[in-house]
């Protein structure tokens, strides 16, 4: 099936997926963990665990309002409760842990995390700045890589589309995380940010590899026109290119040539992530799942969104993409 010829269908599917993902995030929201909001998380494990109500009562007795208690299983396989409260002081921490461990047999605090609100805020700010910086550099580099090769659209377009595709690839794992939060109570923590950063790297690489083929096709199928003129004694050359084949055809062959590579690279990545999901610890399970969603989205988008989007944009800008007589290119 020719993806470029049927680009409307693929772009519609992509639009539908994006709208669904945004809808999911908007409806169900995201559960931010204490890494971002500040607060304390105490995991108490038991050999024989008490009722959830008993734990909740202890928490309430200590005057810790707006606390939440969630059933869980610790890394050693024992039943445990995750008690999320506001940022606890050292004495409050001691009170809570002694009161909660006494409730069941073999009670033990297996994990305690307390994050001040300022640190959470800072993490958010820094993440936003860092990702903003990365996006800027990618646009600049991709635009630079495509500059001066005679493409019917500006070289900036490729950078811009790389970023659009990237947003698609980030949106889907975020929607998955929203659903995980809804059904399993998973919270957005630092590991999730790491997973998104990894998806970011993967997505950009995937898109760039395909655009590299497009670039190769453009260079291989262009005719150079050189007009020399003399101005104030200096000889200057105006170089323009004419493409020998329709733009759609060039992009289509780039896509079909990269197909095997895209699929093989994805298969290897997916295989290792599936192994991480099933064999790795509970801590990395959500991480693996989010990354998996990102990699699948990244593979799909680099093949079925990036290149169709370039062609659609070129056509919208008035480039005659289906005909051989492409006019002078920039």
């Amino acid at each position: 099936m020719d993806i470029i010829a049927n680009r409307k269908i693929f772009l519609l599917i992509a639009a539908a997926i994006v709208v669904t993902a945004i809808g999911i995030i908007a409806t169900f929201g995201l559960r931010f963990g204490i890494d971002f909001t500040g607060g304390s998380l105490t995991e108490v494990s038991y050999e024989v665990s008490p009722d959830k109500a008993a734990v909740e009562e202890v928490v309430a007795t200590l005057g810790l309002t707006s606390a939440s208690v969630r059933e869980s299983v610790d890394e050693a396989g024992n039943d445990s409760y995750l008690i999320r409260t506001r940022d606890l002081s050292e004495s409050e921490r001691l009170e809570l842990s002694s009161a909660a461990t006494e409730l069941g047999t073999g009670g033990e605090v297996s994990r305690f995390t307390s994050i001040g609100p300022v640190i959470g805020q800072e993490l958010r700010d820094k993440a936003v700045w860092a990702i903003g910086g990365v996006l800027l550099v990618i646009i600049l580099y991709v635009a630079y890589a495509f500059a001066g090769i005679g493409t019917p659209v500006r070289s900036w377009t490729y950078g811009g589309i790389t970023i659009l595709v990237l947003m698609h690839d980030i949106l889907i794992p975020t929607a998955v995380m929203s659903l995980l939060g809804l059904f399993l109570g998973a919270e957005i923590d630092v590991l999730f940010v790491m997973a998104l950063l990894a998806v970011l790297g993967y997505s950009v690489n995937d898109t760039i590899v395909i655009f590299d083929r497009v670039r190769e096709q453009l260079v291989a199928n262009r005719t150079e026109h050189r007009v020399e003129r003399e101005e104030a004694g200096i000889v200057m050359a105006d170089v323009t290119y004419t493409l020998d084949k329709p733009y759609t055809e060039l992009v289509a062959s780039a896509v079909s040539q990269s197909m095997a590579r895209s699929i093989n690279t994805s298969v290897t990545t997916i295989v290792s992530l599936v192994a991480l999901y099933f064999i790795g610890g509970d801590v990395t399970q959500t991480f693996a799942l989010v990354l998996l969603a990102g990699v699948v989205a990244g593979t799909y988008s680099s093949i079925c969104i990036a290149s169709p989007l370039v062609v659609a944009y070129a056509k919208w800008r008035g480039v005659d993409v289906d005909s051989v007589q492409t006019t002078k290119t920039i």
């Binding site: 610790d74 890394e75 050693a76 002081s89 050292e90 001691l94 605090v109 297996s110 994990r111 305690f112 995390t113 307390s114 001040g116 300022v118 640190i119 805020q121 800072e122 993490l123 820094k126 993440a127 700045w129 860092a130 910086g133 990365v134 550099v137 990618i138 580099y141 630092v190 590991l191 940010v193 790491m194 950063l197 990894a198 970011l200 790297g201 993967y202 950009v204 690489n205 760039i208 590899v209 590299d212 670039r215 190769e216 095997a260 590579r261 093989n264 690279t265 290897t268 990545t269 295989v271 290792s272 992530l273 599936v274 192994a275 991480l276 790795g280 610890g281 801590v283 990395t284 991480f287």
Partner: protein, 479 residues
């Protein structure tokens, strides 16, 4: 460069073989070095595991530098780190780490932080108590007026207590005991302390012979302040307070220049030594407040690591299996190159050293993906050439030449991203970025040098010959 314009001499093939052997030997040697710490626990270059993998606690303190001249902040923070480091060392935790961190320019006002990492410690109460044990030293002046006032209050309260003792709260007695001593602040505190030492009195000046004393030396600024206080208050009493408790209140007989003072308080030699030490260790230059605590059980960290390594090994095995099934002989070469990639990365982790955290492992997985991708890109190009009739060696060389621009662009953007993340990010993001950045560089090396060297060393063939070797250079479902 193609095969045709290269003389097919035995020297050429010997050189190829020689280069390949050197590459393999170097990797083998590196693998042996990397494996060292696994069999020898006393190795000088062990893997450093972050708290989330090894288990332990992390305490983050915020320093209040609002009262300090901005120019002095960085110096004072370094002093603070040294003091806290000495205190933490007293806990006897091995491999503890104390470092400073400043919130970046992203936040409006820079916040100075001090981070204490205690591997293996899951009960932070002792540590928090030890770090927080700030012996504050204060010099205060006796205030006769205040004393009289306090005396009056005390008497009236006393009479109140006797009249109402039977009916109302008995706690009044408790409150009476904590009525402040009649002293006023002078501004001279432990902040101006340079050092403290144990001394024994020489038996002069009305002191008992051989009485243990603590002599303190002030900084230049503190010495001036001390001299001024003593000059303007001759005849008054100067109270020396440790942790809010009055130790002694000697009379000021004359102005004391030179910036030294002696604290006597009926100490035993051990008490005096402990006090001198506490003063040396304890004069925190700026107040600190515990802002975040993070504790990861050692068993939790161990499980994460163990399962993570297991998952990594199985995942990696599956990747190599897939590569060998799909790309056959070149796939095997890719397997060797990927193993080299992992070996080099592990060696870097040991020798830089890089502290391994869960975030770092995420970066490692991602860069491993990039390493696989570089091989796949080359093999796909090679496949095109090989099918078109090139000999296997020429196809391999062309494969590298033609895949180069894609590998370059992908890796440069990744490297730039890693640099930016390292620059902006918080310590966790930095851990991810560092490993990812290193991984990108090493993955390029492994694909472009190791895969290439080994691939061109393989015996030459072409598709038309139809031999077993020719089939081994094919790929996918085709013959």
């Amino acid at each position: 460069m193609t095969e045709s314009n290269e003389p097919k001499t035995s020297t050429q093939s010997f050189l190829r073989l020689f280069r390949a052997s050197i590459v393999l030997a170097a990797i083998g040697w590196l693998a042996f070095v990397v494996y060292g710490p696994v069999i020898n626990p006393d190795s000088t270059h062990p893997f450093k595991l972050g708290l989330d993998l090894a288990g332990g606690s992390q305490l983050v303190y915020e320093a209040d530098v609002s009262q300090v001249d901005p120019a002095e902040v960085s110096e004072l923070m370094n002093v603070l780190r040294d003091v806290i480091e000495r205190r933490v060392n007293r806990l006897g935790v091995e491999e503890n780490v104390v470092y400073l961190e400043q919130s970046s320019f992203v936040t409006e006002e820079p916040i100075e932080r001090l981070v204490v990492e205690l591997p293996g410690v899951t009960d932070v109460s002792t540590a928090v108590a030890e770090i927080g044990s700030t012996p504050t030293l204060e010099f205060k002046l006796y205030d006769a007026e205040l004393d009289a006032q306090l005396q009056a209050t005390r008497e009236s309260l006393d009479s109140l207590a006797t009249t109402s003792a039977s009916t109302t709260d008995v706690e009044i007695d408790g409150e009476l005991a904590v009525v402040e001593p009649p002293f006023t602040d002078t501004g001279l505190t432990g902040r101006y302390l340079e050092s403290a030492a144990l001394e024994f009195a020489g038996g002069t000046g009305g002191q008992l012979s051989n009485e243990p004393l603590v002599s303190v030396r002030f900084t230049a600024e503190g010495g001036d302040l001390f001299e001024e206080i003593t000059r303007t208050n001759v005849g008054n009493q100067l109270g020396i307070f440790l942790d809010g408790e009055l130790l002694s209140a000697p009379n000021i007989n004359e102005a004391i220049p030179g910036g030294t003072a002696v604290i006597s308080g009926g100490f035993t030699p051990d008490e005096a030594r402990a006090l001198a030490q506490n003063l040396n260790f304890g004069a925190l230059p700026v107040p600190i407040e515990l802002q975040s605590t993070q504790t990861i059980g050692a068993s939790l960290g161990e499980e994460v690591l163990q399962k993570g390594v297991q998952a990594g090994m199985i995942g990696f095995g599956l990747v190599i299996l897939f590569m060998m099934l799909w790309y056959r002989l070149p796939g095997l070469v890719a397997g060797v190159a990927l193993l080299s990639y992992i070996t080099i990365m592990l060696a870097l982790f040991q020798y830089i050293p890089v502290t391994l955290t869960a975030a770092g492992l995420a970066g490692f997985i991602l860069s491993l993906g990039m390493a696989v991708d570089a091989n796949v890109l080359v093999f796909e190009r090679m496949k095109e050439e090989y099918r078109a009739g090139s000999s296997s060696r020429a196809a391999a060389r062309d494969g590298f030449t033609r895949a180069w621009s894609a590998i370059r662009d992908g890796n440069i953007t990744s490297l730039l991203s890693a640099i930016i993340l390292f620059w902006f990010g918080t310590s966790l993001v930095k851990g991810f970025a560092l490993v990812f950045g290193l991984g990108v560089i090493v993955s390029m090396f492994s694909a472009l040098v190791i895969t290439r060297t080994l691939l061109v060393t393989l015996p030459d063939t072409d598709k038309k010959s139809g031999t077993l070797l020719a089939i081994l250079f094919g790929n996918g479902l085709s013959k």
